[in-house]
Every structure is written in structure tokens, then in C-alpha cells.
């Protein structure tokens, strides 16, 4: 069978599993819809969290990004895993003890203020929409390349699937579907990685093969060969850093704190039965994420070496089939500047102009073909990419629908709404969100790629300090929290908007404040939020006694509610 047939089989098979799981696990109450009845076992919750977290960006984009960034790519590896340590140690157990449905719930109750709640809802909606549009684009890329359908048809199919199980199943349906999606995506990621590691280093474990000797009999270490190749072609050695140390520090911190502040990740820890399981499920989640995240840098190094070996200085006439296939999508372009018919792929330090442009996003998808793996592996990778994109999209849609139905409608505008009315609103909101996300998937606004920094920066600068101060101090009050969130948000958003949208031409190190890029500015935004919140809390009236008791209560596990079985 050819690649297209295999892709079709793999994708259809995995979709059938998701639909089956969704029908089996549909939600019957708001408790089940929002937090799966708080009954998910920690290992499964860990898997679902991992699938929820690992998006199209992790699966399709990250290894490609690292392949071209070299050591600087570590900011994503450490940033997107280190945040789980913060989550597990500083947030998850206390939020589970608090035991409601959402992050705005916590902010609203702890800071005894509707204004604080609404500010939190707006942040949650903004972060989630930014993210979900990116997922739909990932779905579109996979469909258009491997199944030869139009990107928009791909997005419609993706929308249909997500609509089906998010609207029907709520958190319960999504959680169990995500467990299945985790299995599909991790299998799809590891199989080609193991194959390629075997081919290149003779070692089946990619994490070890990464530091091993090449299997070509040269006795040379893979990383040394790669350093040599990249250096010679003017890219600079692969294992050397090119970003400023301070910038790397700030980006890593912004990504870590942003991860810990993302509403669709935090809400996961409301779904387990007990506080101690909230702690351990963060551990399981990180373990499952680490399997992919420690494989990714190995895949990146293999892919880059393979790519340079395969195309550099080769005649354009003889390029392999995958090269031509990706040229059609426009994600890979070759421009024979010197007219010699050879492909020159060179870096900024080389005297020979570069003729090959490759989009980061295609490296993982093209990798099995570059390494000439069997067709079924290529199909499997496509199914894995879809699993990653769909699972994250579903988790985000749930946050959006919960924010609208629960935080805005039930808690702010219309408190007397019935359980069934709220559930219906949540379903309608999920449906509307799917349509909006799909629209942006088909017509991606030019700024989607640039605004990824937004989601993390805003989460870092808004939620994280408010929640931390809410748990670890009794004195933080509503004035401090609101002023802190607004100041952190306004600062971070204006810095990013200025450099990414207003003056993209000035977006270089010499114009940044202290050399901190827009990707890393969330760290400073967070510091501003903390400083403002503490200062204002000190000069305004302390929170009421009931709030101080509330803080005492969430600090000990005993007495956590059994979950939210409202109407079974």
C-alpha cells in the first residue's frame, strides 16, 4: 500500500476509537461535563493531561524547531516540562482541595470579588482561543499533505470529530478520549524515532543513541558529526548557544510559569478524587510528557543530520520523492540562486548564499520519509499528529465553554439558572467555540504563529501570581490581586503587541529591554504582577476573616469534597 492509503487506514482507525470511547463516556451532569465527576484515576488523568498538554506544536513543531535551533531549543524542552514541577508543588493540591470547577472560580472566591472573576475569565478565554486556532491549523497541514484534501476540508473533518465528543461528553468524554489519543500519539512518535535511532547509531533507545556513535563505521559520535556539518555550512555548531544567556533564562522562566498558569492544564487537577491524587497525577502527567520530550531532541538531531546528508550539495534533479511532495505544499522551497543545479543549504556565517527554505513544521512529518522508513510508519505519524492536535483542541474548547456557561452565566449574570440550563449552555458554547476555532483554522490570521508567546506570557503574568499569593499568603486582598493582574497583563500585552504587531521591524536584540525578547517578557510581567499585588495589599484593608479561614482550609488535604456529583 502507498503512503496515502496507509495514512487513510491509520487515521480512520484512530478516529473510530475516539468516537467509540466518546459514546461510552458521555456526560450526564454539569459535574461530569466540567470535571468528569472528579472520579478519574491518577494514572489515567496523567495520560489525559499529557495528551491535553502536548499539542500539534509539541508533536509536529517542536523537534523541527530544535533541529534548526540546536542547543537554544532547550528553552522549550525545559520550559514546557519544568512548569509541571511548579504545578505539582505550588498549585495542584491546593486547587483540588478548593474543589470547584475552574480557575476563575478560585480567583473569584479567594478574592471575594466578581471583578476579579471576570478579569480571570477574560484571560482564560483569550489564552484558550489563541491556542485552539493553532491546533486547527495543525489538523489542516496533516490532512492536506497526507490525504491530498484541501486544508479546509481537513479542518471541517477535525471540527466534526471534536464537536462530537466535546459537546456530547464534556470533560468525561474528553478525558477518556485523550487517554486513547495519548496512546496513539506516543506510539506514533516513538516508532519512527526508534527506527531512525537504529539506522543511524545501531541503538534502539533514541535517548541513548542521541549520544552514541554513528553506525557507518566511522566511530564518530553523532553529535560531533552534526556539530562538524553545521559549523562547516555556516550555521554554527549545533550544541552551541546563539541566544543571550539572560534571554534564554527569561524565556525558559516564562514558559515554565506560563505552563503552570494555563487554565486547560490547571483544570485537570480538579478531576481526580483526592488531594494526594492531584499531586501524583501531576507526576504521572510529567512522566508521560517526558517520554516524548526526551525523545524530541534526539529526533531533532537525527533529522538535522539526515537532512544535511541527504540534500546538501546534491543535484536538484535527483531529489527524493518526499522533497517534491513537500515543495507542492509550499512549506519547502528551493531557489537555485547560483544556477549550478546543486542544493546549497547554508547558514548565515557561510559565503555561499542559502538556497533551501524549510518550514520547522514539516521536520517530524517528513522525517520518516527522509529516513526511508516503511509507508505504514508515515501513516502512523500522520495519525499521531492528528491525535495531538485534536486532544488539545478538545481540552481548550472545554475551558472556553466552562468559562462562558459557568463563570460568566451561572456565577455572574444569571445565578438562578437550572442545572440542565447550565449544561445546555455549556454544550452550545462548546459548539460555537468549535465553529470559531475552525474558522481561524481555515483562515489563519497572520498573527497566529506570533501570538503563541502571548498565551504563555499572559498566563504567566496574570493567573500564576494571583493563585500563588492566594494560597501562600493570607494578606493578599482583592485590590492587590486585581491591580496585579491588570498591571501584569497590560505590561506583557503591550510589549508583545509593540514588537510583534506594531513594529516587527524593531524586533531584534538591540531594541529589546535588557535584551529580553517578547517570548521571555512574561517573566517580567509576572514580577510586576507580584510587586503590584503585594504593595497594594499592604496599603488597603486586609481580606475578611472568612477568606483567611478559607486559606487555612485549602492548605490541608483532609476534608476535600468527594467531587461534584450533582445529579447522577
Amino acid at each position: 500500500m502507498n503512503v496515502q492509503a496507509w495514512t487513510f487506514v491509520m487515521v480512520a482507525f484512530s478516529f473510530a476509537i475516539y468516537i467509540g470511547v466518546a459514546v461510552w463516556a458521555r456526560a450526564r451532569s454539569t459535574g461530569e461535563f466540567y470535571v468528569a465527576g472528579a472520579k478519574v484515576p491518577p494514572v489515567l488523568n496523567g495520560m489525559a493531561t499529557a495528551a491535553d498538554w502536548m499539542s500539534a506544536a509539541s508533536f509536529i513543531g517542536m523537534a523541527g524547531l530544535i533541529a534548526f535551533m540546536g542547543r537554544d531549543g532547550s528553552v522549550y524542552l525545559m520550559g514546557w516540562t519544568g512548569g509541571y514541577v511548579l504545578l505539582a508543588l505550588l498549585l495542584a493540591p491546593y486547587l483540588r482541595k478548593f474543589g470547584k470547577y475552574t480557575v476563575p472560580d478560585f480567583v473569584g472566591d479567594r478574592y471575594y470579588s466578581h471583578v476579579a472573576r471576570v478579569v480571570a475569565v477574560i484571560c482564560a478565554l483569550f489564552v484558550s482561543f489563541t491556542y485552539v486556532a493553532g491546533q486547527m491549523r495543525g489538523v489542516g497541514i496533516v490532512f492536506s499533505r497526507f490525504l491530498n484534501v484541501d486544508i479546509s476540508v481537513g479542518v471541517y473533518i477535525g471540527m466534526g470529530i471534536v464537536f462530537f465528543y466535546a459537546v456530547l461528553g464534556g470533560m468525561k468524554g474528553i478525558t477518556y478520549t485523550q487517554v486513547a489519543q495519548y496512546c496513539v500519539l506516543i506510539f506514533a512518535y516513538l516508532v519512527p524515532a526508534i527506527f531512525i535511532s537504529m539506522l543511524m547509531t545501531g541503538m534502539p533507545i533514541p535517548q541513548i543513541g542521541f549520544g552514541g556513535e554513528l553506525a557507518d563505521g566511522s566511530g564518530m559520535y553523532l553529535l560531533d558529526r552534526l556539530d562538524g556539518l553545521t559549523d562547516e555550512l555556516g550555521f554554527g555548531a549545533y550544541t552551541d548557544g546563539r541566544k543571550g544567556t539572560l534571554d534564554v533564562l527569561f524565556i525558559t522562566a516564562a514558559l515554565m510559569v506560563g505552563t503552570a498558569g494555563l487554565p486547560h492544564v490547571i483544570v485537570r487537577f480538579y478531576t481526580v478524587p483526592k488531594v494526594r491524587q492531584a499531586r501524583s497525577s501531576a507526576g504521572w502527567a510529567l512522566l508521560f510528557i517526558a517520554i516524548l520530550y526526551t525523545t524530541a531532541p534526539a529526533v531533532a538531531a537525527f533529522a538535522r543530520t539526515n537532512l544535511l546528508n541527504t540534500v546538501s550539495n546534491q543535484p536538484y534533479e535527483d531529489v527524493p520523492e518526499w522533497f517534491t511532495n513537500w515543495e507542492v505544499t509550499g512549506l519547502l522551497t528551493f531557489d537555485d540562486l547560483n544556477g549550478d543545479g546543486l542544493i546549497q543549504n547554508t547558514g548565515p556565517a557561510s559565503s555561499v548564499p542559502n538556497e533551501l527554505t524549510i518550514d520547522n513544521d514539516i521536520m517530524v512529518l517528513a522525517n520518516p520519509e527522509i529516513a526511508q522508513l516503511p509507508n505504514w510508519v508515515v501513516g502512523l505519524v500522520a495519525a499521531g499528529g492528528l491525535a495531538a492536535a485534536l486532544s488539545t483542541a478538545a481540552g481548550l474548547l472545554l475551558v472556553i465553554s466552562t468559562s462562558v456557561a459557568h463563570d460568566l452565566l451561572k456565577k455572574t449574570i444569571w445565578p438562578s439558572i437550572t442545572e440542565n440550563g447550565e449544561l445546555l449552555t455549556a454544550r452550545i458554547a462548546a459548539g460555537v467555540a468549535v465553529i470559531i476555532a475552525g474558522y481561524y483554522g481555515i483562515n489563519p490570521p497572520g498573527f497566529v504563529a506570533q501570538t503563541v508567546a502571548f498565551a504563555f506570557g499572559l498566563a504567566a503574568a496574570s493567573f500564576f501570581p494571583a493563585i500563588i499569593l492566594g494560597i501562600f499568603t493570607k494578606g493578599a486582598n482583592k485590590y492587590g490581586a486585581i491591580a496585579g493582574m491588570v498591571a501584569g497583563l497590560a505590561f506583557t500585552a503591550s510589549y508583545i503587541v509593540y514588537f510583534k504587531l506594531v513594529h516587527p521591524d524593531l524586533n531584534t536584540a538591540e531594541h529589546w529591554w535588557f535584551g529580553v525578547s517578547p517570548e521571555g517578557i512574561g517573566t517580567i510581567g509576572m514580577a510586576i504582577n507580584f510587586a503590584v499585588a503585594i504593595a497594594i495589599s499592604l496599603v488597603t484593608p486586609a481580606p475578611p476573616l472568612s477568606v483567611q479561614q478559607f486559606v487555612e482550609e485549602i492548605r490541608v488535604p483532609r476534608g476535600a469534597g468527594p467531587g461534584h456529583e450533582v445529579a447522577a
Binding site: 542547543r71 532547550s74 514541577v85 508543588l89 535517548q207 542521541f210 548557544g241 488535604p557 476535600a560 469534597g561
Partner: protein, 92 residues
């Protein structure tokens, strides 16, 4: 809440903060320390094909993160039992 109960809780909270502080110290050292600030110095040491600083930045820090969370879970479960604030089974 009685005076004793309140002091008891404060002792529990203090121990919790000590654990969190120590574990976050390790978290900081392996990622920001070994992976970013000291990366060049550590790169002088080689293990197989890896330069050590590069290894911490792309592999080692992640392994340590996973271990840290499970150590925290273990420490806190023990602490909860010691102070009798663990969740009783009838709440499940």
C-alpha cells in the same frame, strides 16, 4: 480553632514549605544552573557523545523534574499521615 490546633497546623505548613523550598532549589539548579548558566563550564565534561551541559539542557533536567514530583508526593503523603491531615477513605 483552638490555639494548639492552630500551632499544629502552622508546624505542618512550615514542614510543607521546607520540602517545597528544597525541591524547588534542586529544580532551579538542574535547569537554570546546569542547563543555562553553567552550560559552557559543564560542556568541558563529556559522557559518551554528550557534552554534560548540553545533556542537562536537553535531557537531564527533564528526568530530574519527573523524580522531583514523585519525591514530593512521597514526602507529603508521609507528612499528611504524621500530622493526621490525610484524607480518610470514606471521603472517596
Amino acid at each position: 480553632m483552638s490555639q494548639i490546633g492552630s500551632r499544629y497546623r502552622q508546624a505542618y505548613w512550615k514542614r510543607n514549605l521546607t520540602y517545597v523550598g528544597l525541591l524547588l532549589g534542586v529544580w532551579f539548579v538542574v535547569s537554570y544552573g546546569f542547563g543555562i548558566l553553567l552550560v559552557e563550564q559543564l560542556n568541558a565534561i563529556r559522557i559518551g557523545g554528550f557534552q554534560l551541559g548540553f545533556w542537562f539542557a536537553q535531557q537531564g533536567s527533564i528526568y530530574v523534574f519527573v523524580v522531583l514530583i514523585f519525591v514530593y508526593v512521597k514526602l507529603m503523603n508521609r507528612l499528611d499521615r504524621e500530622f493526621e491531615v490525610d484524607e480518610r477513605d470514606e471521603t472517596s
